[in-house]
């Protein structure tokens, strides 16, 4: 690949608002707070940030409003249409904007009242809005929410590979254990496989209530700049080793017309991202695998090659994805427990993990002093974490990936 930017760019600042179900304010107010927190985290002043990138589904506030609120004057901004898997892709676009000479420091943000305003599950105003176009082929049959859009893929995979509800529940249990050591998490209590199995069904046979993520009010931000610029900033740089996305599988929105429908976009992204980053699977210390639903995690693990196709159920129940395991996943608790952000919180978590200063309950956490005692209410820092990988999910047909590290290749 021409012009591989490996290690030439960094994430230098991360920030977010509280994760809640009643923010009581606008996406403009949330977005301003998250960007401000990320600038403070990086040690950047508003006049040093000259790029803004956001993604939204008609449910956010444009960069050009929030620039006023923080005194930023972008030389480059774009507000892109997009949901899950946009975070990683926009980190890549930020690199592109800097490479093109359009700006030097880019704040990538997502702001959403995902519970109190526009709910991804489709409840409220969305459920009764007039429809046209491709919704005509789905909505009259009761097919509306995100899990329903994905369910043909999930069910067919379950049928072909013998996945059980218990296997999926193990993912929720692992993420909830992680969240119990995250003071920011919206859902901090640990749940068991039985708790998931005993929660009410949403869509059979693929999702109980606790297999679904938490609709959340929040804003999140990561700041991207060159490795050269990062040298002067507050934290140990977290290098971007490679980024891909949003990549697709054949058929796009109509992926179920082609097959195998149990294959997701990660199948096509995996060879490109590992090649670009110069990283092998065994080099990766922790993952951030998009958990809109437990099933999105399992499918991506398979198609990114953490296990053979069909063996995702063994991978997620092996202990590998748990804190203390070989390669913990979604150490913040992810969308299932920390809060639903359309992917940004999993990137933020991995940045903090690679700095070694994750905000758990260890008394010296912010100075990097961790106990590595992963029992409830304790530590969630992964020991000696050097390389992380994020796998964003948009739909079965759409995904992104980001590999970061804290040492140069």
């Amino acid at each position: 690949m021409a012009g591989n930017p490996r290690d030439k760019y960094c994430i230098v600042g991360v920030g977010e608002t509280e994760y809640s179900r009643a923010s009581g304010r606008t996406t403009r107010a949330l977005g301003a707070e998250a960007i401000r927190n990320a600038m403070n985290d990086a040690g950047l002043t508003p006049d040093e940030v000259d790029g803004m990138l956001s993604y939204h589904g008609g449910d956010s506030t444009p960069s050009t409003s929030i620039q006023y609120d923080l005194g930023i004057r972008p030389n480059f901004y774009m507000d892109c249409s997009g949901g899950g898997s946009s975070t990683e892709a926009l980190v890549g676009l930020a690199i592109g904007a800097i490479e093109a000479g359009m700006c030097d420091v880019v704040a990538v943000f997502r702001s959403m009242n995902g519970y109190s305003n526009v709910r991804i599950g489709g409840t409220g105003a969305r459920a009764s809005a007039p429809i046209g176009g491709l919704d005509l082929m789905k909505r009259p049959y009761g097919l509306i929410s995100a899990v329903q859009q994905f369910a043909y893929t999930f069910t067919r995979h379950m049928a072909e590979y013998g996945v059980k509800s218990e296997d999926l529940a193990a993912i929720k249990a692992a993420h909830s254990n992680h969240a119990s050591n995250n003071p920011k998490a919206l859902m901090k209590h640990r749940v068991t496989v039985d708790d998931v199995m005993n929660s009410r069904w949403i869509i059979r046979p693929v999702a109980h209530l606790l297999d679904c993520c938490l609709e959340t009010d929040n804003a999140t931000c990561v700041i991207v700049t060159s490795a050269e610029r990062a040298k002067d900033l507050k934290h140990k740089p977290v290098y971007i080793k490679g980024v891909q996305g949003r990549g697709t599988k054949p058929g796009g929105d109509f992926h179920y017309q082609h097959g195998p429908i149990s294959r997701v976009a990660g199948h096509y992204i995996a060879p490109r991202i590992f090649d670009l980053a110069g990283v092998k699977h065994e080099d990766v210390d922790l993952t951030g695998c998009y958990d809109a639903f437990t099933y999105t995690v399992l499918l991506q693990f398979e198609d990114y090659g953490w296990c053979e196709k069909g063996e995702g159920k063994d991978y997620v129940t092996s202990g590998a994805i748990n804190l203390g395991g070989r390669r913990p996943n979604n150490v913040s608790g992810g969308h299932l427990c920390e809060g639903y952000t359309h992917g940004m919180n999993m990137v933020i978590e991995n940045v903090r993990q690679l700095r070694g200063t994750v905000d758990d309950y260890c008394p010296g956490a912010t100075e990097g002093d961790h106990t590595f005692d992963y029992s409830e209410g304790g530590c969630r820092q992964v020991q000696d974490a050097k390389i992380s990988m994020n796998m964003g999910w948009g739909t079965p047909a759409v995904g992104s990936s980001l590999i970061m590290g804290n040492v140069l290749s």
Binding site: G121, G122, T123, A127, S128, P130, I131, G132, G133, L134, L136, M137, K138, R139, P140, Y141, G142, L143, I144, S145, Q148, A151, Y152, T153, T155, R156, M158, A159, E160, R200, W201, I202, I203, R204, P205, V206, L209, G251, F254, Y256, Q257, H258, G259, P260, I261
Partner: protein, 170 residues
Amino acid sequence: MPNYTYRGITLSIPENDSEYKGYFEAAGEGRLVVKKCSDCGLLRGEPGPGCPWCTSLNWEWQQVSGRGTIYSYQVVAHTVIPAFRDSTPFAIVLVELDEQRGQPTEFDGLRITGNLVDADFNMEKEASVGIGKRVEVAFQPVEDGFMLPQWKLIDEPDQGFTWSHEVPEA
């Protein structure tokens, strides 16, 4: 076509809807149609403007048999659409039509969504749904000139890969 209302949902099919208007006009006459490429002759399950196989923008509607096999499905235990609440649990099925199965590649098929319904267009019982079940299209009257394609089980042996989930006790 004007707007139609079904289960409280307004379905808007304007005159310039070059994808779905013809599909629903045919359904209103009791015919299931797909688009056929006028150049390479291949059918497509999604009635888009271009041929995914040869990029031709020339197409015509082609009536199909309306018979197929359930390729995947979901059973809605909880719905966010108010007018479906009295119908849960109900099945939404992805039906693979008999025409052009496994063509032009082994994984391709013409796949259409609908509910699995009984002879009276009530939702079929959950235990009846499964991958591999044989089905036939049935047109559910909604308003004058508008019918919704749905799917009914037919008395034929299951076909190809078969699977069904365990239905929980009520």
